[in-house]
């Protein structure tokens, strides 16, 4: 077995040193009835690389990868090009196979990249501080809601009708478990500032999204002002991090907490995970923030260095009084994010964002020309919703036959929303004019 260095002779020699006859003695505390007799049911014995690779490759071959043809699915995860350098960096053993940097003397590599990551996320969201990442955007959103209840000591959380329904579900579940009230505003393509009317004196926070799940971009300043007037917080959500290069960021709208999905930068689609949750807030709230934080300090020789800090908020110290039960961030995905951002720079991000926007505008123009298609999203970044004269599921299946993965049917995300004729689609820098032409031609054919 290629992964196990001990030889039978080593094992015998070690048992001798220990004074045990066999490893069975180590398992003496296991109740007799619970000792597994025989082998693991159904699992073959160990296999070489080639055999395992064959099996997994067969499974992989049954999937249609995004890059293998025109591809327009967004709604929370996005196809982007990741520079080759990024994958090389995250496969460095020293980053890939190390632990959380609790021993700063031998973890400055990870720590410095986290400090850089935090600075980048703070600048991109235009917020004061960012943490070292969360599991993903949806769990970051849930944690933001909980944080707001802690800060305001109030128990009501209001979700906009444009919030990604998976984010809304994850947030609702976490809040209700702790006895908080969650108010979900009616699903709406363009009504993010309905939050402003809904906020009251009992509200801990309002949660709005821009660009929202239908792609609509909204200046949430009005909701921020209304929330602040009532002593509540604005949590501003995004699922497409590239939008931060072009669209009004949370900090410019007066958000108290900004959360979002960072997958778009540095991380592949990977069928939904692992991704990287971004979490930023105002300076005033920093000690209420969940998750890990990296901070600057000095070593015994006066050299600048970095450590994990403010850890008294965390579960391993506060236990049942912790700000969150989280003990993992998304370290390697955060590294991919920061490495990609370091290559892009602010200028590259803006350019990439503009390319995304232009591709989506071109797509909207092309689809808009087809009789029966109605673009529903009034203002957008790189994704939008449109109505077809037929059932969306049937349209997407026919598009698939024509080699085009045309988007997500809205009814998959909102099963009770009576949106059977709506498709959500996205375009990115990966989208070519030929892809757009193929989509428009196939759709025209179908309807």
């Amino acid at each position: 077995m290629r992964y196990l260095p001990l030889s039978p002779e080593d094992r015998a020699e070690m048992l001798d040193v220990i004074g045990a006859k066999s490893v069975d003695e180590f398992y003496a505390d296991v109740p007799e009835a619970a000792r597994l007799k025989g082998t693991i049911e159904g699992l073959p014995n160990h296999q070489g690389e080639l055999a395992v690779e064959r099996h997994l490759s067969k499974l992989a071959a049954k999937n249609r990868s995004a890059s293998s043809g025109p591809f327009f699915v967004g709604a929370g995860a996005y196809q982007h090009h990741v520079p080759a350098t990024v994958d090389m960096i995250i496969q460095r053993s020293e980053f890939l196979t190390t632990y959380t940097p609790y021993q700063p003397e031998i973890a400055q590599g990870t720590l410095q990249t986290l400090f850089e990551f935090q600075t980048q996320v703070a600048a991109m969201t235009a917020m004061d501080v960012a943490n070292a990442s969360m599991y993903d955007g949806s769990t970051a959103c849930a944690e933001a809601a909980i944080m707001a209840t802690r800060v305001t000591r109030r128990k009501k959380v209001i979700l906009s009708g444009g919030l990604h329904p998976h984010y809304a579900a994850a947030t609702k579940m976490v809040c209700e478990a702790q006895g908080f009230e969650v108010v979900q505003l009616p699903v709406a393509i363009d009504d993010e500032n309905a939050l402003a009317e809904a906020v009251d004196d009992a509200t801990a926070c309002v949660i709005g999204q821009s660009p929202n799940v239908f792609g609509t971009v909204t200046d949430l300043s009005k909701s921020a002002d209304a929330a602040h007037e009532k002593g509540a917080l604005l949590v501003s959500v995004f699922t497409e991090a590239v939008s931060l290069g072009l669209v009004t960021p949370p900090g410019e709208m007066g958000a108290d907490i900004a959360v979002g999905e960072g997958q778009s930068i540095g991380n592949g689609l990977s069928f939904g995970g692992p991704y990287v949750g971004l979490f930023a807030c105002t300076q005033k709230l920093v000690r209420q923030m969940p998750g890990r934080l990296c901070g600057e300090t000095e070593d015994a020789d006066g050299k600048r260095g970095f450590v994990l800090t403010l850890s008294t908020r965390e579960q391993h110290i506060r236990r049942d009084k912790a700000t969150s039960n989280i003990c993992t961030n998304s370290g390697l995905c955060a590294l991919a994010f920061t490495a990609h951002m370091t290559l892009l720079g602010g200028k590259g991000l803006e350019q990439m964002a503009l390319l995304n926007h232009e591709a989506a505008c071109d797509l909207a123009d092309a689809l808009d020309e087809i009789d029966g298609v109605e673009i529903l999203t009034p203002r957008f970044f790189n994704e939008f919703a449109f109505r077809t004269p037929m059932d969306a599921e049937a349209v997407l299946a026919m598009l698939d036959e024509a080699g085009v993965v045309g988007g997500v049917r809205a009814s998959r995300l909102f099963p009770e929303g009576h949106m059977g004729d709506m498709i959500l689609c996205a375009a990115t820098e990966c989208t070519t004019p030929e892809d757009i032409a193929a989509y428009a031609a196939a759709l025209k054919e179908i309807i």
Binding site: R287, L310, S311, T312, R313, I317, R318, K321
Partner: protein
């Protein structure tokens, strides 16, 4: 019930000190406590106006690796907090009994003072630890 017209200091088993003066009680942690905690990096103080019953979590004092709750030694309403601690938490280490006070409570029930230790009793209590 004794009324303390001169500042008089009492102690709790949780290593807090309480200086009672007329209707007010100033609360902090003892030298023993700050020494056990080590370098204090943050103090979370209650809001002015907050009311506490005896034994309620009132404040949190944090060192690098530990966070400890500070309990209300007697019931009361917070009338003042030590703003210096927000910027200089190390004050608690440097001057636990003077500059490092946490907050001032308006005493709700003066009879509760009788349940606290005086200096001698507290000294004996610490020696017994």
């Amino acid at each position: 019930m004794t009324r303390y017209t001169q500042p008089t200091t009492f102690y709790t088993k949780e290593h807090e000190w309480v200086t009672v003066h007329n209707d007010l009680a100033t609360v902090g942690i003892t030298h023993y406590a700050e020494n056990q905690l080590g370098d204090i990096v943050f103090v979370e103080l209650p809001d002015v106006g907050a009311e506490f019953a005896t034994g309620d979590d009132m404040a949190v004092v944090e060192s690098v690796k530990a966070a400890s709750d500070v309990y209300a030694p007697i019931a009361g309403k917070v009338v003042e907090v030590n703003a210096v601690l927000a910027d200089k938490p190390e004050t608690v280490n440097e001057s636990p009994r003077e500059k490092g006070w946490f907050c001032v409570l308006e005493i709700k029930d003066g009879a509760e003072i009788a349940s606290l230790m005086d200096e001698e009793a507290y000294k004996a209590f610490c020696e017994g630890l």
